[in-house]
């Protein structure tokens, strides 16, 4: 009997015990009707070939292990970045359970959102009644300052019109007439979570800005972070930099406090976020900066329409990307970049110089959201690495073109390949046929790591199986240091593991590296 009270074995060791191994072997043999081992081995080897890769990449309809989620997740994340705002997702209720779980598993934090709980009758008659009752309940139970409405694909397919539904609900006194209920239609069958983010931020800005007079406040800027699993660390780091510069700024959408509430005995359903007064005031900013272009295309268009200057970045991570962000802020606000920041930059460059021999020529596969992949590829090239495979399931042809332009700008990009719209099962073939040293992505990449042996570095949402990474910045020079250290740790750990065999590889198991 393997189990004991003295040393309790849970699943990881328990099922490796002989009793269980034998039981499972017999189950397979007697009851599972498996394919013969040789056939399984042959197929497994076949999936590692160029021939399989070609078939795999030629897929037109089937999607396997995509690296993207659906629009409403982005909308719920976006709404979490505004003061006392409750997300209200109109449509089927199961979706909302999924968004909440997904966000909680990444942030290890509460994630609140409500559903209008539409069922079959609502599919036939429309969900107006659900909206009317639902808004009243949410308003009364959860005491929000704003309710941000988005949609599941069910409500989109039957064509529910949020604008008129919300008006109807107000007419029926579900919420006071002046209560803020911005909305965004977020069909899951269009785009991905980054577009849902875009739609919801735009919906909120339109709600507050429409029909208002703009009086330009020179030198003030708005910053829109985009969908970012590292918002907790990143937003705080960027604010620190902007404060150092003495810039007048407003973060439009900031979930850094909402997804990082303290444990002190009190559960805060709402914390932090952009104040509603600040959203209103933000209309007057001289410029709006987006940290992630592909997360904010429609929002930026709208900002231009109201007369603001706009600028966008691809996730300011690494040296040059941070330089560009700071210089743009400096130019817009007329503030010098202070010496303290120049010193920070110098320290990060110093670290890169110290470690360059371990990074030069390393090959990477990178996947994730379009802006992140761009940033990561750029940073990798700054370290002398080669971004061999760059993949974004939610990347489009414009992104592909931008990536190619980036690669053309550096000798380290000459062999780089960009894979727009492909999934992680495609990545598996790429890693087998054109192997790399390191894989950068999210927790789903662990299956690729297991299959192909490529070490995985988790720097992208969602990260379920490692804790607290998102609490640290990866943007800016300080964030860059963290990314650099994370990559180096992975390289050194691997090297130590590979040279750790006593009596065989003692010679390479160096104390100082």
């Amino acid at each position: 009997m393997p189990q004991s009270a003295e040393k309790v074995l849970d699943h990881a060791p328990l099922f490796r015990e002989p009793e269980y191994r034998q039981m499972l072997a017999e189950k397979k043999l007697n009851f599972e009707c498996p394919h013969p081992d040789q056939i399984v081995t042959d197929q497994r080897e076949f999936t590692q070939t160029w021939e399989y890769r070609e078939k795999n990449l030629a897929r037109e309809a089937l999607v396997v292990n995509p690296a993207k989620a659906c629009q409403p997740l982005g909308a719920v994340f976006a709404a979490a970045g505004f003061e006392r705002t409750m997300s209200f997702v109109h449509g089927s209720q199961g979706c909302v359970a999924y968004y909440r779980s997904h966000l909680s598993r990444h942030f290890k934090e509460p994630a609140s959102a409500v559903s209008s709980s539409m069922t079959e009758d609502a599919a036939v008659f429309g969900g107006l009644k659900n909206m009317v009752d639902g808004l009243a309940n949410t308003y009364q139970l959860y005491d929000p300052k704003m309710i941000a409405v988005s949609t599941t694909c069910m409500a989109e397919v039957i064509g529910d019109d949020l604008h008129s539904f919300i008006q109807n609900a107000k007419d029926e006194n579900s919420v006071p007439a002046e209560f803020d209920v911005p909305f965004a239609h977020t069909p899951a069958f269009v785009g991905s979570h980054v577009d849902g983010y875009d739609g919801m931020v735009k919906g909120i800005l339109e709600h507050f800005w429409k029909g208002q007079e703009r009086t330009e406040a020179g030198g003030t800027i708005n910053v829109i972070p985009g969908f970012d699993g590292f918002c907790v660390g990143n937003n705080r780091e960027l604010k620190r930099l902007l404060d150092l510069m003495g810039v007048s700024y407003t973060f439009i959408q900031d979930a850094s406090d909402q997804f990082d509430t303290p444990s002190d005995g009190e559960y805060r359903m709402y914390d932090g976020g952009t104040k509603i007064e600040d959203v209103k005031e933000a209309l007057n900013a001289e410029a709006t900066l987006s940290l992630q272009y592909y997360n904010t295309r429609k929002t930026l268009e709208y900002c231009e329409q109201v007369g603001q200057a706009t600028a966008s970045f691809h996730y300011p991570l690494g040296i040059q990307a941070t330089d560009e962000f700071l210089m743009k802020v400096s130019a817009l606000c007329g503030k010098e970049i202070p010496e303290a920041i120049r010193l920070e930059r110098g320290r990060m460059v110093d670290a890169m110089a110290d470690s360059q021999s371990w990074l030069h020529g390393k090959k990477y596969a990178i996947y994730g959201d379009p802006d992140f992949v761009y940033a990561m590829a750029r940073f990798v090239m700054e370290t002398g690495g080669e971004p061999t495979h760059c993949l974004a399931t939610n990347g489009n042809s414009a992104w592909e073109a931008e990536m190619k332009q980036l690669f053309a700008s550096s000798p380290f990009g000459k062999d780089a390949q960009v894979w727009a719209g492909k999934d992680l099962w495609a990545m598996r073939s790429l890693l087998f046929t054109e192997p790399v040293d390191l894989l950068i992505g999210n927790s789903y990449g662990k299956y690729l790591e297991r299959d192909t042996g490529t070490p995985l570095i988790r720097l992208m949402f969602p990260i379920f199986d490692r804790h607290h990474h998102h609490r640290f910045a990866i943007m800016g020079y300080q964030g860059g240091l963290r990314v650099l250290t994370t990559i180096l740790d992975k390289i050194f750990d691997k090297l130590d593991r590979e040279t750790g065999e006593t009596g065989v590889t003692d010679y390479s198991y160096d104390l100082t590296r």
Partner: protein
């Protein structure tokens, strides 16, 4: 080992009144039917019914209240079909449903993932606007062909419909029928669109029906049967639960010819009607197919409970009685064999946990099934409720809960928070969405869907892990660190160092 106690029914009644007062009238009326305090049951046969849990259940959630429930797709793809490891399960519709449920249920299995098993993968048709406008049947045909080419060792395919499928009028049945014929494979369309029904529950039922209609009697199943053949039904092998159960059932002399559906292959599903007895753990999600197998094939079924030694012993004896003296004799030996382990676990952990109070809120089975396991450790259940139970589940709950227990059906985020605040139990057992709000309040928490990444909790091996996990949750020193010392001198937490 029965633990005698009564809960503070008056406090619980007051808490119900307080939460209801916060709703708009219309919703208060609807929610009132779902909340109650367990009353003393009729003194029928001794020990039979401890209490009555008189709540309405399995009806629509109130909009806008933050129900914790999921949908029919979650019930079918996530629960019933998803764990069948040698089949490819297509999340048919937009990308999200499959993405959020990808690898989250911890249905353990052994196999070569991506080659002959597909459990921790996300296959989706990733619907685009054109698929909504023009229909997705052609795309589905192509998807099935591509699966056959790239994953030829799959033993079948299921088509798990997401919301849009039923709304745009796709005929996934016709596609499945044609493709099954063409590829000579089992292809099962499952109409589990998320808007159907009121929770995960209808998805379970629809998935059960799809086994009846699309799997049973579709092939000639050759299998040499034996006198002690059983199926384990409704064990999803979360954290290895089904394995920790199987080892016991085999030890008492039974032959588990099929496990539904954790670590299952399609062959195990197909041959199920040939078994002598269906042993059902999760009654809520799989009673339908058991009833069908009883009617159609004469396979008897029996509920059992493998949480905690009291229930394990009772269940093993009940199962053994069905098979007669030979099995009964072995069963007594098995119970005796594990008794020292049980005694040692209880001796170690009961003193550390005795008298601690617990509130539960889980799916359709565990809100009652795990109660005795806590009681075996001397703990007291003060409140419990289900996401998607039916009336028959609440009847069964009366066999478990004590007078005065707070009962909440389809609880809302608001209610649960207020109940926990009002009761301040020593432990809450619920899901990922509830975990962090509860911990922020300084109350220890264990996820009771995923076993909080631990497990198994079934069987004797599982009970030791369960006891360890409850202890480490309650007796961790972090709960004593919540208050900054310059703010207050009182400290709520009471840690006991691990032994």
């Amino acid at each position: 080992m029965s633990l005698e106690y009564e809960n503070d029914g008056a406090l619980h009644a007051k808490l119900i009144e307080e939460v209801l007062s916060q709703y708009p009238d219309k919703s208060a009326k609807r929610r009132k039917k779902h909340l109650s305090v367990a009353k003393s049951g009729d003194d029928g046969e001794e020990g039979e019914v401890l209490s009555e849990c008189d709540v309405k259940s399995n009806i629509k959630s109130v909009p806008g209240v933050m129900t914790i429930r999921g949908c029919a797709y979650a019930g079918s793809k996530g629960v019933v079909w998803g764990p069948v490891k040698d089949m490819v399960h297509i999340s048919h519709g937009p990308v999200g449903c499959g993405q959020y449920s990808w690898s989250q249920r911890r249905n353990y299995y052994v196999g070569t993932t991506g080659i002959d098993t597909f459990g921790t993968m996300q296959f989706t048709s990733d619907f685009q606007e054109k698929d909504i406008v023009f229909g997705g049947d052609k795309k589905l045909e192509q998807i099935i062909d591509e699966i056959e080419e790239l994953f030829p060792l799959n033993n079948g395919i299921t088509v798990q419909s997401e919301c849009p499928i039923g709304l745009i009028g796709d005929d996934t049945e016709a596609v499945s029928r044609n493709k099954a014929k063409e590829h000579k494979k089992t292809v099962v369309p499952v109409r589990c669109e998320g808007f159907r029904g009121v929770s995960q529950s209808l998805g379970h039922h629809i998935a059960n029906d799809s086994i009846r209609d699309w799997v049973f009697e579709k092939k000639d199943v050759e299998f040499d049967t034996g006198p002690y053949d059983v199926n384990v039904i409704g064990d999803y092998n979360i954290g290895g639960d089904a394995w920790a159960s199987r080892i016991l059932l085999e030890e008492v002399g039974l032959r588990v010819v099929g496990n539904w559906s954790g670590d299952a292959t399609l062959a195990e599903i197909e041959r199920a009607p040939k078994a002598k007895l269906n042993l059902i753990h999760c009654y809520r999600s799989m009673n339908y197919i058991c009833r069908h197998m009883e009617e159609k094939y004469g396979v008897a079924w029996m509920e059992y409970n493998f949480f905690g030694p009291s229930q394990i012993e009772t269940s093993l004896r009940k199962i053994a009685k069905h098979f007669g003296p030979e099995i009964e004799e072995k069963t007594e030996k098995v119970i005796a064999k594990y008794r020292p382990l049980v005694d040692a676990v209880i001796a170690k952990y009961r003193p550390r946990l005795e008298g601690n109070t617990v509130m539960l809120y889980v799916g359709g089975l565990r809100p009652r099934h795990v109660i005795t396991a806590y009681e075996d450790l001397g703990m007291v259940i003060v409140g419990t409720g289900y996401e998607f139970a039916h009336n028959d589940d609440y009847q069964r709950t009366g066999h478990y809960v004590k007078n005065g227990t707070l009962i909440y059906d389809d609880v809302t985020g608001y209610e649960l928070e207020k109940f926990i605040e009002g009761v301040r139990p020593n432990l809450v057992g619920s899901g990922i969405k509830e975990k962090y709000p509860v911990q922020k309040m300084g109350i220890p928490f264990r996820q009771m869907h995923s076993w909080d990444y631990s497990g198994p909790y079934h069987g004797y091996d599982g009970f030791a892990i369960f006891a360890r996990d409850v202890d480490l949750a309650i007796n961790n020193p972090v709960w004593g660190l919540y208050q900054a010392p310059w703010k207050t001198s009182s400290s709520r937490g009471r840690a006991i160092a691990a032994e």
